[in-house]
Amino acid sequence: MNKQKNVMGMIKRMSLILGCLLFCFGSLVYKVSSASGAPAAKQDYMEWGDKYCTDKPVRGGYFRIASPYYIGAMNPNHFPVMDWVTMSYMYEKLIVLDGNYKPTIPWLAESWEYINETTVIMKLRKNVLFHDGSPFNAKSLKYQMEWILDDENAAWTKSWLEPLKEVELVDEYSVKWHFKRPWGAFLGTMASVPGFMISAQALEKDAAQKKSERITHELIPLRRKARAEKDNDKVEQLQKKITNLEEQLKKFQALAQNAKPLDTNPIGTGPYMLEAASTDNYITLKRNPDWWFGKSIGKPEMPYFEGIKVAVIPDPSVRLANLKAGELDSIVLNPVQYRQVKDDASLSVVTFPVNFLVYNIFNHAKGPCADIKVRMAISHAIDREALVMGTQQGLGRVASCMYPDDHWAHNPNLKPVEYNPELSKKLLAEAGYSNGLTLKGFTVNTPEAQAFAKAQMAMLEKVGITWKPTFLSITGMIEPFKKLDFDLFCSMYPWIQEPDQIATLLYDPKSPFNNGRSNNSKAIELIKTGRETTKEDDRRKVYLELEKTLADHFEDVWLFWPTAVLASSKKVKGFNLEMYKNLGESYSFSHPLWFADGRP
């Protein structure tokens, strides 16, 4: 099961990296000031006038974008989801993040309040329908949370809900959340994947179908055993069990009648719903005429596009060629392609920081990197600015720790580790490697990851460290991770939102994603405190301290936070870069784009 979790984690992470722009096309609503609980009275309503966009929105047209991967599973809690951009058109979260990645913006949840440290009361938005016509309400939310927590449903998000004890129904549109212990990360969790609301009706049918399959599998050996068994008593016992299972099977088969698997038939509340899908080729979404948000603010013409077509184009240069040829309307580029488009008069090209982290993981459990002096030597040997210039065309910010510099949990007092090859050599000698050091390692076999690794190989070589990483597929990494057969591994963590998630995943010894087996007792204590602290100011102090602790121990090599490059046809209107930079996904979820000519 660990292997499965590892694969899930790696694929999820890498798919998130490549999916990137969840935040670019979407929506918000009201802004409140406190992440710790109750929304503030003042709601910072979004700008809809000329300050936002001088062009007037026009309805019509199919928005054509591209993704390197086919979407994969279309239930966000299932694995693997390869394209979160498309996912976010179909599903909406309870809460969305503001410009500092704080979960402060009510979306499907209208308001919430911490009654005490282990109880939150949440009011839900009324008049919201799922794509199958069923209502979004307290019952559907409760069912979904229980569905995630049920092992049988294989939701990879289950561990994120571990502190949840119960969801209590208060009335049709209110729930009371009960936690096992104080849970500071609750709102952040509801602003991430478990918070994507799915039709309970569809989940129930899907679960019944899965249960039917499981029982069918279970019956095979039992029937075989019953046939082979000679002892009458045992045969009777087995027969009883078989009859019981057969009855259950009938029940679930009846429930699952006409069920369409959620993994291929998504049912959310989002502005678009599935129209057609062709594996590895494209996915087409059509406008949801019942989308609640536009109606709730007096703009029923939202969303403006008639639909969205996501073409699957694996090669980045072919994606760019499609954009230039007018076959696509918008794409996310690799930073190395920036120069090719920045002066193109037919395109609008914008760059903005993203909440991803490129970093190296040390093997803390065995080998030379268990020694802090070696970790320091490696860290000082890497010229992060040169890395950003060389591999990202200068688009990126040198990292000082894990949380991005615009994240509320980031410690602004930390400085990136200084590039100092002389100090690095000295530290290596002190650690007993004056004649040089050879490190094992690997990285994922994408061109980007290979570029990061190769640039670092040359830097490390200068101080006498030979690191020759092998380039492996995501699944190929399972074995070396399991056997701890590496010293240094180059990776990327996308979508840093709720600070507890990345901290727990990377530095909690119990996490299946703590591939470097980091075991820093002070950091572990701080992570636990951060998770259980519900007051925002206190939580922030904990995370500043956590970053300082990790930096002081050279726990990993944090390299840089990337910058995204978005190129769009000039016909695409409605994207206000400044608002996006200030308001993050809260802006993008509430401000759908449109075509200047309302293309049919």
């Binding site: 499965q4 599998h217 095979i220 073409a311 694996p314 060629a321 040829a325 076959e327 076999n445 597929s473």
Partner: protein, 319 residues
């Protein structure tokens, strides 16, 4: 002739059997538990031992390796090719969806390579030593040696970005739009066929040159036949015999090319399915893809061998 056909058929089956064992062994050597794969693919979650045992029994994974192999072969023949770990789809269904796309590309590419390769080879041989021979020979070498990926990028920028004549990528099914379909496969077909065309042109040229230097050709000229008559009535048939083998090789080139071309042009065919499966270690799909590629190559080689026997009486006599 019957004996010859039987012998070829047996050789092909033997090769297929050995290949299938190799593919089976490779799939078992790959790290990872296939049952975990099935559980992951079907999102069945935390399952107890009974369920795991059920799945093992269903796939015959609780049996000795030889029995497992036989079950796999039996399942494969009956159309049960397993479930994709990456997408959860049935591999056979995935295959059937993609087969028409790749088949269309294959046929068009091979036709294209023959359409270009044969005339170029013949002209080159007839005009041996002339400027046109050098030009065509250089073209054939270029066609053979140009990296498919580079060729693709150049063509996309030329025909799609600059001239706006062809779509840069994607596939339009024939049933949706005939024009759209032909436009969408134009560049992939050209690229996949170019390598084969270069190969055919070079073989036709050298084979024809060899035949044109033989005594019976001189005799034909002495009889007063024109150059065209000599070429068409006497030289071409014997010269094309070895080229039949090359046609088989071309099929192999096209197969290999489809992996890159389909990936690059975002065509949802079998080649791309194979590439994705390799990237994600999706072993049921890798297994099926490899065995299909093997059957494909073996079938074409068998046809070439049979055709060879039909065309060349010496082969029939020897066999």
């Amino acid at each position: 002739m019957k004996r010859y056909i039987l012998k070829r058929l047996l050789y092909s089956l033997l090769t297929l059997w050995l290949t299938s064992m190799l593919i089976f062994a490779i799939a078992r050597i790959l790290p990872g538990d296939p049952v975990q794969g099935v559980v992951m693919a079907s999102h069945m979650g935390a399952v107890d031992n009974n369920v795991i045992e059920g799945i093992r029994a269903q796939f015959g994974l609780n049996q000795p390796l030889t029995v497992q192999y036989l079950i796999w072969v039996k399942n494969f023949i009956s159309g049960d090719w397993g479930v994709s770990i990456a997408s959860g789809e049935k591999v056979f269904d995935m295959f059937m969806k993609r087969l028409p796309i790749t088949f269309e590309l294959f046929v068009c590419s091979v036709l294209w390579s023959m359409l270009i390769g044969f005339p170029c080879g013949i002209i080159s041989a007839v005009k041996h030593g002339d400027f046109i021979d050098r030009l065509l020979s250089a073209g054939a070498v270029l066609g053979l040696s140009l990296p498919v990926f580079w060729e693709g990028i150049i063509l996309i920028y030329l025909f799609s970005v600059m001239l706006h004549i062809l779509p840069p990528s994607g596939f339009v099914p024939f049933s949706d739009s005939i024009k759209g379909n032909l436009l969408s496969i134009a560049m992939p077909t050209f690229i996949m066929g170019t390598q084969g065309a270069g190969l055919i042109a070079r073989y036709v040229r050298s084979s024809l040159l060899e035949v044109l230097g033989q005594d019976f050709i001189r005799t034909a000229y002495a009889k007063g036949y024109s150059e065209i008559e000599v070429l068409l009535r006497h030289a071409l048939k014997p010269a094309l015999l070895p080229v039949a083998t090359v046609a088989g090789l071309t099929w192999g080139y096209v197969t290999a090319g489809s992996f890159i071309v389909e990936y690059m042009f975002a065509i949802p065919g079998l080649g791309r399915m194979g590439v994705n499966a390799i990237f994600s270690n999706d072993f049921p799909v890798i297994q099926a893809t490899l065995i299909i590629v093997a059957i494909n190559i073996l079938a074409v080689n068998l046809l070439v061998d049979l055709q060879y026997g039909y065309l060349d009486p010496r082969i029939r006599v020897q066999s």
